[in-house]
Amino acid sequence: MLLIYCPYCQEERPELEFAHAGEAHIARPTNMADISDEEFETFFFIRSNPKGLAYERWRHVHGCGCFFNAVRDTVSDKFLATYKTGEPKPDIDSLTKKGDGK
């Protein structure tokens, strides 16, 4: 079974306890009433959906219940890093060199 490191529980837990929750680092516009329909569409519907490294939100739904962010390779399904909500994006280059899954 795939193990995912939960930054709140501070240990690796079975995949079964987690739920995927979409792309990470999408900021809601502060001037929501002023933006055009096209800008709203971009914010609301358009996702990057990359083949390779993706920044994603995950939720430890059957554990601590917390949302956190993860860097996952969408081809190999390998988690390169997980980090708490609100923390900055980790540096991809250092992750791919180290690549220990923590």
Binding site: Y8, C9, Q10, E11, R13, L16, E17, G63, C64, G65
Partner: protein, 184 residues
């Protein structure tokens, strides 16, 4: 003739066992779900008489051992009082913002005990339940088969399996079936 309705508890009559593991329903206990930010943790701990633990997967007991506080998340705890005391009243005196919900009737528990207890739970729980990874006093919300449960390790060979009362038939059936496995 006076007709009275007798309440049948979810796990009434549910007991199973083999030579190495027994499954018994836990006695009635009162339970409280607490969500609170850091500033309310100390006042709530004082009011309840049990320290709300701040380390993941840990639990704490009150001095008389009847009340247990389980860490479920960074801002979420489950308090179980085996004496059945009212847990809402002490929380009502706490001024700091928090959410306390009495869930005494939502949850029921089974006690899985014996040499084969760990193996019986492993039939449906994907977590590492060895003594090194899940020591005495450890607790965690996790999965058992298809349902969410809260596991507490009371001692090396005893687990408390807290679950919703509507899942009680499933949980008991699952465990009763699991202990028939000859490897357990």
């Amino acid at each position: 003739m006076v007709e009275t309705a007798a309440m049948i508890l979810p796990h009434e009559g549910n007991a199973a066992g083999t030579g190495v593991v027994t499954i018994t329903p836990a006695a009635f206990a009162s339970r409280l779900s607490i969500r609170a930010r850091a500033e309310a943790v100390a006042p709530l701990s004082r009011a309840l008489g049990v320290k709300l633990p701040d380390a993941p997967k840990t639990s704490a007991k009150s001095r008389n051992g009847k009340r247990t506080a389980l860490w479920l998340g960074p801002d979420e705890w489950l308090v179980i009082d085996e004496a059945g005391a009212d847990l809402m009243a002490p929380c009502a005196k706490v001024k700091q913002l928090h959410a306390a919900v009495d869930i005494s009737h939502r949850n029921v528990a089974l006690i899985v005990s014996g040499k084969g207890a760990e193996a019986a739970l492993k039939a449906g729980c994907p977590q590492n339940l060895s003594l090194e990874a899940f020591p005495v006093g450890a607790c965690s919300r996790t999965m058992l088969g298809k349902v969410e449960v809260v596991l507490v390790r009371d001692d090396a060979e005893t687990f408390r399996v807290e679950h919703w009362r509507s899942f009680s038939d499933y949980v008991f059936g699952f465990l009763a079936e699991a202990i028939r496995d000859p490897v357990i």
